[in-house]
Symmetry: D3
Subunit: 231 residues, 6 copies
Amino acid sequence: MEPLDYLVIASHPDDAELGVGGTILLLKEHGARVGVLDLTDGEPTPHGSPAIRLQETRAATVVLGLDWRGNLGLTNRKLVADLEARTKLAGIFRQLRPRTVFAPYWDDAHPDHVAASALVDAARFWAKLTNTDLPGEPFHPQRIVYYFSVHLRLHPKPSFVMDVTRHIETKMRALACFHSQFIAGRSTAPPTFLDDLRDRSRYWGWAIGAGFGEPFVCREEIGLRGLRDLV
Amino acid sequence: MEPLDYLVIASHPDDAELGVGGTILLLKEHGARVGVLDLTDGEPTPHGSPAIRLQETRAATVVLGLDWRGNLGLTNRKLVADLEARTKLAGIFRQLRPRTVFAPYWDDAHPDHVAASALVDAARFWAKLTNTDLPGEPFHPQRIVYYFSVHLRLHPKPSFVMDVTRHIETKMRALACFHSQFIAGRSTAPPTFLDDLRDRSRYWGWAIGAGFGEPFVCREEIGLRGLRDLV
Amino acid sequence: MEPLDYLVIASHPDDAELGVGGTILLLKEHGARVGVLDLTDGEPTPHGSPAIRLQETRAATVVLGLDWRGNLGLTNRKLVADLEARTKLAGIFRQLRPRTVFAPYWDDAHPDHVAASALVDAARFWAKLTNTDLPGEPFHPQRIVYYFSVHLRLHPKPSFVMDVTRHIETKMRALACFHSQFIAGRSTAPPTFLDDLRDRSRYWGWAIGAGFGEPFVCREEIGLRGLRDLV
Amino acid sequence: MEPLDYLVIASHPDDAELGVGGTILLLKEHGARVGVLDLTDGEPTPHGSPAIRLQETRAATVVLGLDWRGNLGLTNRKLVADLEARTKLAGIFRQLRPRTVFAPYWDDAHPDHVAASALVDAARFWAKLTNTDLPGEPFHPQRIVYYFSVHLRLHPKPSFVMDVTRHIETKMRALACFHSQFIAGRSTAPPTFLDDLRDRSRYWGWAIGAGFGEPFVCREEIGLRGLRDLV
Amino acid sequence: MEPLDYLVIASHPDDAELGVGGTILLLKEHGARVGVLDLTDGEPTPHGSPAIRLQETRAATVVLGLDWRGNLGLTNRKLVADLEARTKLAGIFRQLRPRTVFAPYWDDAHPDHVAASALVDAARFWAKLTNTDLPGEPFHPQRIVYYFSVHLRLHPKPSFVMDVTRHIETKMRALACFHSQFIAGRSTAPPTFLDDLRDRSRYWGWAIGAGFGEPFVCREEIGLRGLRDLV
Amino acid sequence: MEPLDYLVIASHPDDAELGVGGTILLLKEHGARVGVLDLTDGEPTPHGSPAIRLQETRAATVVLGLDWRGNLGLTNRKLVADLEARTKLAGIFRQLRPRTVFAPYWDDAHPDHVAASALVDAARFWAKLTNTDLPGEPFHPQRIVYYFSVHLRLHPKPSFVMDVTRHIETKMRALACFHSQFIAGRSTAPPTFLDDLRDRSRYWGWAIGAGFGEPFVCREEIGLRGLRDLV
C-alpha cells in the first residue's frame, strides 16, 4: 500500500472530524494522502449504537474524502495506554507509514483522550524499533501534531492555527453525519450544538486574520521552509 | 514604485544580515520583493567609519540581492522612538508598502534596539492613518515579525524557525562584508566570531530537524494556509 | 463629590465601550458607581469629527448609565506618558477616588494605547503622594485591571473573564452609538464589524461556560472572598 | 440525600485541611453544603494508627463543620488511578452530586497525590456516562479546582487565591486535631511545623492584599459574574 | 580605585536594603567588594527630609559594610531614562567597573522604578562604547541581576533565590536605620511593617528549603560552574 | 558503604553520559562521590548486544571516574513505573543515600524515558517511608534535578545550565565508548552524530557566556548560598 502523508488518530469516531476536519480537507485539496484511525467504536452513547456510529463514520469519511479509515478495536471508556495497545498501534504506523501524525491533545477531561495521547506518543517511538516482533519494517513518523477535540474548555496557546475558511461548510457537513452525537436529543433552537462549534472556530479564524481556524500544538518548534503558506 | 513584499527594519547596518540574512535569501529565491531599511549609519565603532560602513552595506546588499535598501538617517546610539522618528518611518511604510515587516525583537541590552522595536510598532500603526500630513496614501503592513540580532544572550521561545540550511553559506558571505564589524580587530583563531554565529544557527536548525535556522517571534498567532512549507 | 467605585480610563471614546462595556453594565446593576475618563477626543478619523464623536459619546454614556464621564483633553494620535499628562491624570484620581481602575492593556499596535497604559500606571502611583502640588488629598486606587480594546489580534491568558451574557445586547447598543467609528463606511453585509465583535465575545463566554464574556488581566494575583460570583 | 455544593477529594486524611481548610470554613459561612472524601486512611505513619487517624479526622470534621465526610478505602501509599478506583469514585460523585470538586494538584512528589489527581479527573468524567453499571443517575460536577497539599516546594501561579484571613485560626485548630501527623515527634520550639504552615499562608495573603490566603489552580479560565467577592 | 565586584543601583535610598540587603551581607562575607548607587535622594516623603534620609542611609551603609555608596543626584518622583541620565550612570559604571550590577525589576507600580530599570539597562550598554566623551575607559558589566523592591504585590518566577538565613537579622537592622520610612507614623502593633517584610522573606526561604530568601530574576539563563552553592 | 553525593538514574546505559556527562566530571573534580544507576541494559539495538553494551558501559564508567555504577535489571522498551519497580529503586536510594538525584526529563518521545522519570519521582518519595518492608533505613534524597537525554527536539527553559567547557573533551570520550550506539552504522562524514551532540552543547555554552553547557530543569526553585559558582 502506498504510504499516507498524514494519519489522524482519534479516540472515538467524530474526534478527528471535530478537531482536524477542516485541515483534512485542506490537506486533501493540496494532494496529500490522508487517513484516520479511530481507536474505539465510541459506543455506547445515549443516542448511538455500534451500527449507527459505523454508518455515520462511513458517511463522514466520504465527505472528508479520506484515503484510508480504520478502527483499532480498543474498548471505549476504558482506553489504557498499555503495552498491548502500543503494539497494535505501532503495527499500524509501520503499515501506513504516515510522515505526520495528528494526536489528541494531552490534557483533557475525558480519560480516553488522555490515554490516547500517551498511546500515540509511545507507539510512534516503538514503530521505529528493530529486533521486534512487530509486523512490517521499522518506520518513524517524523512529526506529531496535537489537535483539540477536548471535553475541557481549554484556552490553549497554539503552535499554529490552520486557516480552514474555505472548508468550514464541508467540515460542518462531515460533523452533521454524526447525527447520533451532535443532533439527536439536542435542542434545535439556534445556536445549536453545531452552531456553537462553528462559532468557536470563528475565534481562531479571527486570531489569524481569516474566517475560520483550527488550532494545533506541537511539543517541538515549528520549522518553516518559507512564508508562502503564512496567512 | 512597485510595493515590497517584505521590509526589514534594522537599527544598524548589519543587524538585518545577522538576524534575517538567511530568510531574506530564501524569500528572494521564492520570488518575493525584499528591502532593508537601516535606521542609523551604525557609526562610530572601533574599526568602522561612515564611509567604510556604507561600502560594506552596499556589498552585503549585493550578496543578499535586495530589491531596495535605504537609511532613515537617525542618530546611532541615540535612537529614540519619538514622534519625529515615527513620522519619518511611517512615511517610508507608505512609500514602500510592504505586506510584512521584520522588526528588531523588543527586549535587548542595546537601547537603540529597544527603541527601534517600539518605533516600528508605532510607525506601522501611523502609516494607516487618514487626515495626516504624512506623504502618500494610508497603508497598513499586515504583519510584524520580530527577529533576533540582540546583545543579550536571549534564549527565546520562537513562533517559528526558518530553515535556512541551503542559504547559510551565502548568509555568511553577506556577514563577512562587514569586515569592520565582524573581522577587524578580532581573533582569527577558530572558532572566530563568525564561526560562532554560524554555530548558533546550527542549534536552531537542529531544533527543527534541519541544518541551520533563524528564529522569529510574533505577538499574534501563526496562521497557516497549509503544511507545504512545514519542515 | 461622592467617590466612584470604578473608573475606566480610555485612550479614545469607544475604547471603554469595546473592552469594558458589558462589565460596566454588570457593575452598575450591582449598584456600583462607575465612570469613564477618555484621555483624548479620538479625532480625526475617516468618518468622525470632534462634534460627532462627542455626541456619540454622550449617547453611549446614557446607554451605559454611567455616573460620570470626562475627557482629559490630551492629543489623539500623539498621546505620550510624560510628567505633564501624569500630573493631570493623578489629579483626576484624587478627585474621583475610584477604588478600582480599568486601564488599557499594555501591549498593542496603537501607540496611544501603549502610552495610555503606562500613563495610568504612573498616575495611579502619583495620586497617593504627599507634599505635592497636586489638587485634593492623596489617594491610591487599590487595584488596576487591564482590559482589551486592542489593535492587535492578541490571544491573551486572562486573569478572569467576566460573564456579560445578560448585558451583551445593551453593550452592542452602546457600541452602535459610535456610528462614525463602527458603521459609517463599513460593509453592511453580515457579519458586519459589530457582528464580529459580538462573535468574539462568544468565545470568551464559551471559555467560562456562559454565553458572552469580556477578558481581563491583572499584574497581581486574583484574590477572592468567596466563590459566590464564580460562573 | 441533598446534593453537596462542594466536595474535597483528599489522598489522605489531613490533606483537605491543609490545602482547603480555610476555604471550607468560608464556604460554610456562606451557607454552602461541603463534604470531604478521603481516598485512603493515610496509615501507616510514624506516630499514627488507623484508629488514631480516624479519631483525629472526626475531630477535624467537627471543627470544619462539614456536612459530609467519607473514606473510599483505597490503599495508602499504593494509590493507583485504575478503572476499579475510577468506578468507586464516580459512584460517589453520582451519590453526592457536588457542583464543584476540589482535587489535589497534579504535580507532586508523593505518588499517591499524583494518582489521586488523575483519578479525580477520570472519575468526574465517568460520573456523567449513561449506559453504565454505575449506581445512581448520571451527574457531571461542573468544575474542578486544584488545591495545594504537596510534598514539593512548589511555587505555583494560582488561578485565584482565597482570602481566609478570618478563618485562619479555626483552620489551625482543625490542623492541630491531627496530633499524630503535625505535632507528635516534632520540635516544639518555634517556629513549629504548624507555625510554618501558618506563615506560608501569610505570603498568599500578602499577595492579595489580605491577611492569609490559600492558592488554587484551574485548568479552565476563571469566569466571574461580578466583582463583589474580589479582594 | 579598585573595581567593585557588585554594584546595586537603587531608585531611592532603602531600595537596595529592601531587595538585596541579605545578599549584600552574604557577598561581603564571601570577600566581595560591594557598592550601592542611589539614583535620587528619595525625598520628599511624609516623615523624611533630605538631611534625615542621608543620615539614615549612612547608618544603613555601615550596617551593610559597603565598600562604596554614592548618589547620582537625579530627581525623586521624576526619574526619566533619558540620554542625560544615561550618560551620568554610564560614567559611574566606567569608574566603579562592577562585574555584576543589581537593577530594579522592570515591572512596578512606581514610575521611578520602571524608569530606573530601563536606565540601568541602557547605561550598562553605553558604558562599553568607544569614541565617546564619557569619562574613563570602556567597560561592560558582565551581568545584570534584577531584584525586587516593588510597589506591586508581584508574585514572580525567580531565576534563583538567595539563601540569606544567616543574615536576616542584620538585614532587618539595616532596614530599621530608615526610621523615617519604615517606622515613623506606622503602627507599632505586631505584625509591624518590618515584621511583614521579614515574614515575606520566610516564604522565599521555605521555597528553597532554607530559613529566609531573596528572589532575583535574570533576562539571560543562569550558568553555574558547580553545585557547591546550591542549597 | 559511604553515601553518594549524586546519583544519576538513566533509562539506558549512555543516557547518563549524554545528559550529565560533563556535569559528572565537574562534580568529580570538586570531590563529590557520584554514581550512575542504569534501569535497563538498553538492548536490543541494531548494533549492540547485552555483552557489548556492558563492555561499553564499563569503559565509559572508567572515563567518567564514577564511584559506583549499577543496573536495576528492568526490561528495556517495556519500562513501566509500577509498584514493583518503585520498590526496587527505593531500595537503591536507601542503600546509596544520595543527597541529589539526577532524573530523566519528564517529557520525551521514548516511553521508557517518560516512565523512568515518573518512577524516580515515586521511588524517591517511597525511600523515606517508615513501617515498610523496604531494605535499609528511611532516606530522602533532598533534590531531584532533571536532565536532557531526549528523543524529542525539545527547546527547554532550563533552571540552570552547567558550564562544562573544561570537561567537554572527556565527555566526548565517554560517549565514544558507546561505539555500538553512536558510531557503528552511522555516517563518518562530518558532522558525525557525535559532532552534532558536541555542537549542541555549544549553544548552551553560548547562552551562559561560556564554551559548552548542559541544561537542567528543577520543579522547585533554585536556591543559592552565594554567587561563587555563577558563570
